[in-house]
């Protein structure tokens, strides 16, 4: 069902005039070797050896020729981008300078306006069928797309809808990063009037066939984004569940794997939010209906996670937020 796009992505490389100079590499500690070591270290640390196979390491090496990516923002909050910046292994500097060639990203790119838009369309043309689009944020389809204007080029104003219709068919693959891009998320919640839509639904309605990988989360863990990109580069689209998410990260139920499961089994349930012990079921935890590996990956360098701090609100699920509301009442 999901064909491998590996062959079409293979012959990519973006030849920039000058990649990071030798001296810079040494100073920042970013060498090919240390980078690979860091990635392997991640796998060992979380005990998910299948995530970083030798083939994948090869991919990251090949990635040093840098796969072109354009990052388009719709109705989002930039939280997914900020989360990506928190990547530990590899650090974001490595992602930007070694793995991907981030040709367009409104939050970090040097250029603006016409210069930025010209580059966007030029890259799409030059790498037709071989570049990836990352979508962050939902696509508002009501009122002729007027609820999200993303740019102006040669006197023509582009809505998110128009830009996606023009660019998506030219791309090799699309990553819908964040629950908004994957399923509509909060902008698509009950009460919205903007016709906010996720990428897969939008493509279906518009007949766009470019393959999509959903990487939901509000925001997604940086590892889910980086390692999905790595998988895409080496082996193509990873195995996806019925919701279009890589089973690699979204195949396990949080409750069934929760470190606090034993407490649940013994009937020790937390009574207030600041109770450090106990299963969070009575506080509204949506772990039982949520599929993600947060329970072992944890967050922000493995320091903490939602359940230890309060409750899971099921932010990776297609129904978020309405299906999990109220967040602080049991389902």
């Amino acid at each position: 069902m999901f064909f491998l796009v590996f062959n079409s992505i293979k012959e990519v490389p973006v030849k920039d005039e000058q990649v990071l100079p030798e001296a810079q590499q040494e100073k920042s500690g970013v060498t090919r070797r240390s980078f690979l070591k860091a990635v392997t270290g991640t796998a060992a640390g979380i005990g998910i050896s299948q995530v970083v196979s030798p083939a994948l390491i090869h991919a990251l090496e090949k990635g040093l020729e840098r796969h072109p990516v354009v990052w388009i923002q719709g109705q989002g909050c930039t939280g997914c981008s900020v989360s990506l910046l928190n990547s530990v292994s590899p650090p974001i500097a490595d992602v930007l300078l070694k793995i991907i060639s981030l040709q367009y990203h409104p939050t970090v790119m040097a250029s603006e306006g016409e210069t930025a838009m010209a580059n966007l369309f030029a890259i799409a043309k030059e790498y037709k069928g071989r570049f990836s689009i990352v979508v962050e944020g939902a696509i508002p389809t009501a009122e002729d797309g007027k609820y999200c204007i993303v740019g102006e080029y040669h006197h023509k104003e582009y809505s998110m809808v128009e830009l996606m219709k023009e660019l998506a068919p030219q791309a090799g693959s699309v990553l819908a990063v964040g629950t908004c891009a994957a399923y509509g998320g909060i902008p698509a919640a009950e009460g919205n009037v903007t016709g906010a839509t996720g990428v897969m639904d939008f493509f279906k309605a518009e007949g766009i066939k470019t393959p999509v990988v959903n990487i939901p989360g509000c925001p997604p863990h940086p590892d889910w984004i980086v390692l999905s990109i790595a998988h895409l580069l080496e082996k193509g689209i990873p195995e996806l569940d019925d919701n279009g998410r890589p089973t690699l990260f979204f195949g396990e139920n949080i409750h069934d794997n929760c470190p606090r499961l034993a407490l649940y089994d013994e009937g020790e349930l937390s009574e207030t939010l600041s109770d450090p012990k106990g299963c969070r079921m009575d506080l509204g935890c949506k772990g039982p209906d949520t599929y993600a590996d947060c329970y072992k990956r944890k967050w922000n360098g493995g320091l903490n996670w939602c359940v230890d701090n309060a409750v899971c609100i099921g932010c990776v699920e297609p129904g978020f937020p309405d299906a999990q509301s109220p967040f602080y009442e049991p389902a």
Partner: protein, 480 residues
């Protein structure tokens, strides 16, 4: 290419040249700038906020406690500020008083993200206006003549610090997560306080990281700002605006309403205490129903109309006492008027923030304010770490009231932030948000007066219309 092909391309042309920049990049969100340049300076400006989601509509009918989670998703750079404003509004409506430890835990969560946000802003959003990154995406393409004036060695310092700052802001988010659960979008700020009672281990882990961040702020970030004032000194003299400021105050130091960064309004050269009743949101030039104009947020309505003729932005135009006021670090530091950092005092030869005078109301002045504020908040974080008590309660449970109103006023890194909630039958009946950037990036109000950034653009030099670098520099100084 800089925008519409201008008819007259010579610098200082007496003909009016229109420049459109869309997207304005290295901000958060969607913004278009349309400026008119004549005789080498900006003579008119219109800013358009091009995206709408409708949080105020989406929140209706929900459990009030969910607002603290949902409103964080307004912004992935400052979710802790929205969580704080929402929690304050709910504290007010539910009638809860925080424990000391709860108040301090919230300050530690919010404080760490203030540090993150300001570091991110200067280095990863603004710096490429002053420093050239390596010749590789996303640091290229650039404007052909981008007016970067640094000699090679100083430019390399900038690049090195850009990369180091990526690590520093990541560390700040680790600090946030230690008490907040994860970041972006924390679990740890709720009505009644904070959800995770700090352990000695968590506080030590926070402190260990904080030490690295504090060193970076004091030894690299603050000095770099003052260093830039040399080659870019002209940018301390342009971008004045209306010269009115609002701050609601942030980081409560007790339960009596005192805050680290003070509240205060500065209008036409005079200081006033904050009176929330003075706030009105105008929509004549905003894509909202005209019937909803001129309302105080506690009576606010949000009814989008993207087809309304004459309007040009999804941002409402808030006015305080009928006048446009800007928000952000400049407003807070002006209201607080603390001693400058040692570096600042040595560089400027003055002692207190207001001694900077008019230079504060400029492109670079707003960067100076932000850097000084970062140092000040860092000092406070150190104190809160010492005050936090391991094992002491941070959360006070409270039931949802049947009918109640609540107002939460605080500060996001980019400015004054207000959440208002009206609860009826235990669910949200009305929820209005007057956020930081709408104070700065708004369009004209019903009286035809420009918004703060629009006004600040007037007089800004644009000698080269193909490379209008000062327009972006001015806008980014506000951190929209």
């Amino acid at each position: 290419m800089a925008g519409c092909k201008p008819q007259a391309e010579t610098a200082g042309s007496t003909q009016k040249v229109k420049i459109h920049i869309d997207p304005v990049t290295r901000i958060e969100g969607h913004l278009k700038a349309e400026v008119e340049v004549k005789n080498g300076v900006v003579v008119d400006a219109r800013l358009s906020g091009g995206m709408y989601r409708g949080f105020e509509q989406i929140l209706r009918g929900r459990d009030p406690r969910d607002a603290t989670q949902i409103t964080q998703r307004i912004c992935g750079v400052c979710p802790t500020a929205h969580a704080t404003a929402s929690a304050l509004a709910l504290d007010d409506a539910f009638g809860v008083e925080l424990t000391d430890n709860g108040r301090i835990a919230r300050n530690l969560i919010l404080g760490a993200n203030f540090l993150q946000s300001h570091i991110l802003h200067f280095y990863h959003l603004a710096a490429l206006d002053y420093v050239n990154g390596p010749d590789t995406a996303p640091f290229i393409p650039r404007y052909k003549n981008n007016d970067v004036r640094l000699p090679k060695d100083l430019n390399q310092v900038g690049v090195d610090q850009y990369l180091e700052a990526l690590e520093m802001r990541k560390i700040c988010h680790e600090m946030v997560a230690l008490l907040g659960g994860k970041m972006p979008h924390v679990q740890g700020i709720v009505v009644g306080g904070s959800t995770e009672i700090p352990t000695r281990e968590a506080l030590n882990a926070y402190a260990e990281r904080f030490k690295k961040v504090k060193d970076f702020i004091l030894k690299k970030y603050v000095p770099l700002i003052y260093l830039l004032a040399g080659p870019y000194g002209d940018l301390l003299k342009t971008g004045v605006g209306h010269k009115n400021l609002v701050s609601w105050g942030v980081f409560p130091t007790d339960n009596k309403g005192n805050t680290l960064l003070k509240s205060g309004v500065y209008t036409d050269g005079k200081d006033y205490d904050v009176d929330p009743a003075m706030i009105k949101e105008f929509v004549k030039y905003s894509w909202f129903e005209d019937s909803t104009t001129g309302l105080n947020p506690t009576k606010g309505e949000t009814k989008p109309n993207p087809n309304k003729a004459g309007a040009y932005s999804f941002i409402k135009a808030p006015r305080y006492n009928g006048k446009a006021h800007e928000a952000g670090p400049l407003a807070r530091m002006w209201a607080t008027n603390p001693d400058l950092s040692k570096t600042g005092q040595d560089a400027l030869g003055v002692k207190k923030f207001r001694d900077i005078g008019d230079a504060g109301f400029s492109i670079l002045g707003r960067h100076v304010a932000r850097a000084e504020e970062t140092a000040l908040v860092a000092m406070a974080v150190e104190e809160w770490l010492a005050q936090a008590q391991p094992g002491k309660e941070t959360f006070v449970p409270a039931s949802i009231p049947k009918n109640a109103e609540g107002l939460g006023m605080t500060e996001a890194p980019r400015g004054a932030l207000l959440h208002y909630v009206d609860i009826k039958d235990s669910v949200i009946s009305n929820y209005q948000i007057t956020s930081a950037t709408i104070w700065n990036a708004n369009p004209r109000d019903d009286m035809g007066v420009r918004g703060p950034i629009e006004e600040s653009l007037i007089g800004v030099p644009v000698p080269d219309v193909e490379n209008p670098v000062n327009v972006g520099r001015l806008i980014r100084a506000y951190d929209p």
